[in-house]
């Protein structure tokens, strides 16, 4: 799996895909998975990041999610946003089909 975070990233979250549907999900603070980035647990610094990623192992083992990885986020007014265009598109859906993906489903 390619690395989607930056070396010096301050804030990171963990994302993965649901095995059954293939949909994008985020690891939450209580260890659940949410389709909304706003529910994601945010880790500060490398150590916290690695620890957060390790918490995804259980969901991989139980075949709930596949391919978890860390990515950089940044605080914005009222929540967090993904730092890279790639993760911004994953969190929302295709920029050329605003009627599809989370941008349409999550409102």
């Amino acid at each position: 799996m390619a690395q989607h975070s930056r070396k010096g990233a301050k804030f990171q979250a963990v994302t993965a895909s649901l095995l059954v549907e293939g949909l994008v999900v985020y690891l939450t603070a209580n260890g659940d998975w949410s389709e909304s980035l706003q529910d994601a647990a945010v880790a500060e610094g490398k150590e916290e990041g690695d620890a957060l990623l390790a918490r995804a192992d259980a969901a991989v083992a139980s075949n709930l999610v596949v391919e978890p990885y860390l990515f950089e986020v940044e605080p914005v007014e009222g929540g967090i946003n993904a730092s890279s265009v790639r993760e911004q598109i994953r969190k929302a859906g295709p920029t050329v089909r605003l009627d599809l993906g989370k941008q349409a489903e999550l409102g």
Binding site: G22, S62, N63, V66
Partner: protein, 552 residues
């Protein structure tokens, strides 16, 4: 049209049952993701940015109306009502759920379709000319040999685990519409001095990280020997191909490193061995059986010029524009080849809704002997339309958003899915194509510019064939931000060339202006009758560099 025989039928059904079992075991946790991933890839199922993606094989791009109707239905039932036609003449569904894929594949199998050979390190689905069988200067229908290769390569035990994926394209006219020189093997159907039909073979072409143009290895391989010859190429490749480094594992790197001369020597030596063993001679009875499937339909005897058609062109200017750009001469008098553009103004190149698929399938049924072809430039072709039916066909297409008159013009662009869908992407492709399409939407201006191919890829894998676009655009990532690198002078036809990088990359905000500057520079420089590519070949990259970067 070719219909699967019982053998194929059984194989496809067995494969669906096998994959159903594998998915079941994965969902129950009996297989890990590491164990399952190669299995799903062997069945054309990828995990993309937002969801799974299923790539359906359309051998040499030919579909029946019945098959296209089924694809439309699958789009509605298992996806979000649309599909995406690719530069590999395949169709991709963007949103299937893993749990539904076995049922989806079973539905596909009811129309003799599948997703085999669309992924993994095997010989991929063979691609060919969308004008097969109807082009005026064709030597023989290229789908005959394409089908022979499909049968030979499907599940070939020796070739299921190649060092890398392997792509073969076939073309049978002097005008190459199948981009054969940028494939691992390109086959040009030719006729020798004594009138026999055989094959000219190009080896080692390819795009991606290290673009290469195929080298001609053989001027004339006789029909009976074609499989023996291809098998010899594959053996030499399999023996040497670098399995240790995926960037070096393609045959193009091997040919580049040992040279065409040495490659030819080794293939010839292997060929002598294979021939001695004798069992790979193509049985003529089998060839004839396949040939019969592609026999020309019974055409009506029609006048060279249809008076209704001529009258309709005079009366309906939009129709006349469509005829001018989207139709091509047919080898039978009174018929035409029709190209259906999947590049509407501001649309996504290659996307087609389920409703539109149904319209095209109906149109083919009504006007073109029930057959459709997918082009590697992401359009559709109806190959056998009577001139007298063209106006009615145009109206039917136009009413359903399929009447765009831009084939071969600047807005008829190739674009890969890019960062809107693809997990490997560095940048988005589709929005760039859309913005260019909007900028140049004026049809008169498009005709004034003339033939110009703009190809965009979202990463160096080059699914959007950017290296061989007259103007190529490659999306790159700079610290999480999209940039676009421009190449000029590429071509995928009989004068295949890899484009030259023009200079530093542009931002998303700059790229469309940059394209316009390039186009205007060409207009200023061109001499009578020169297409963009002709002017570029005459003047080179420098004048474009000057106008592009002078203001930067």
């Amino acid at each position: 049209m070719y219909r699967y025989d019982e053998f194929d039928h059984e194989l496809v059904h067995e494969r669906v049952a096998q994959f159903r079992d594998q998915v079941g075991r994965r969902l129950k946790g009996e297989l890990t993701e590491d164990e399952f991933k190669p299995l799903r890839l062997m069945n054309g199922l990828y995990l993309q940015l937002h969801a799974y993606m299923l790539r359906v094989a359309i051998p040499y791009g030919t579909l029946s109306s019945r098959q296209l109707h089924k694809l439309a239905e699958i789009g509605r039932v298992y996806d979000k009502g649309y599909g995406h036609f690719t530069t590999r003449q395949n169709l991709q569904f963007n949103w299937p759920k893993l749990k539904d894929v076995p049922d989806l594949l079973a539905d596909l199998a009811t129309v003799e379709m599948h997703a085999i050979q669309t992924s993994g390190n095997c010989i991929r689905n063979v691609t060919s000319d969308q004008y097969a069988g109807v082009a005026q200067d064709e030597i023989e229908d290229p789908r005959i040999i394409s089908e022979v290769i499909r049968q030979w390569s499907t599940f070939h035990p020796e070739f299921s685990y190649l060092p890398r994926k392997f792509k073969i394209a076939v073309c049978a006219t002097p005008d190459d519409r199948a981009a054969i020189r940028v494939h691992d093997i390109g086959i040009q159907v030719v006729r020798n001095a004594s009138g026999e039909v055989g094959y000219e073979i190009y080896v080692g072409g390819g795009l991606g990280r290290t673009p290469m143009i195929g080298k001609k290895l053989n001027d004339f391989v006789p029909k009976a020997d074609i499989l023996a010859y291809l098998e010899s190429v594959m053996r030499v490749y399999n023996m040497h191909g670098r399995r240790d480094n995926m960037y070096k594992a393609r045959i193009k790197i091997l040919v580049h490193e040992i040279g065409a001369e040495e490659m030819r020597r080794q293939v010839d030596a292997e060929f002598a061995e294979v021939k001695k063993a004798g069992h790979l001679e193509l049985p003529m009875a089998e060839l004839e059986r396949i040939q019969a499937y592609f026999a020309a339909p019974e055409y009506e005897t029609l006048p060279e010029v249809s008076p209704e058609f001529e009258a309709a062109k005079k009366a309906d200017k939009d129709f006349a524009n469509w005829v001018r750009a989207n139709t091509a001469p047919h080898r039978v008098p009174g018929y035409a080849i029709v190209n259906i553009s999947l590049k509407p103004n501001g649309g996504t190149p290659g996307d087609c809704s389920s409703d539109q698929m149904d319209v095209v399938a109906d149109a083919a049924e009504k006007y073109s002997l029930g057959e459709i072809r997918v082009t590697h430039e992401q359009n559709l072709t109806l190959a056998n339309v009577k001139q007298s039916d063209l106006h009615a066909l145009y109206q039917m297409l136009e009413a359903n958003g399929l009447g765009t008159s831009n084939i071969g013009l600047i807005t008829d662009q190739i674009a890969c899915p890019g960062l809107d869908y693809c997990a490997l992407a560095n940048a988005r492709s589709i929005p760039i194509a859309q913005q260019i399409s909007e900028r140049f939407q004026d049809l008169e201006r498009q005709h004034h510019i003339g033939e110009l191919k703009i190809n965009t890829s979202g990463c160096i894998n080059a699914c959007g064939h950017h290296h061989v676009g007259h103007i190529g655009i490659l999306g790159v990532d700079k610290k999480g931000v999209e940039y676009y690198q421009v190449t000029l002078g590429g071509a995928a036809d009989q004068q295949t060339a890899v484009g030259d990088i023009v200079g530093p990359a542009f931002t998303e905000g700059e790229i469309v202006d940059a394209i316009e500057t390039i186009v205007e520079t060409y207009i200023d420089l061109r001499k009578d009758g020169e297409r963009f590519i002709d002017t570029y070949r005459r003047v080179g990259v420098d004048p474009f560099k000057e106008t592009l970067y002078a203001t930067h």
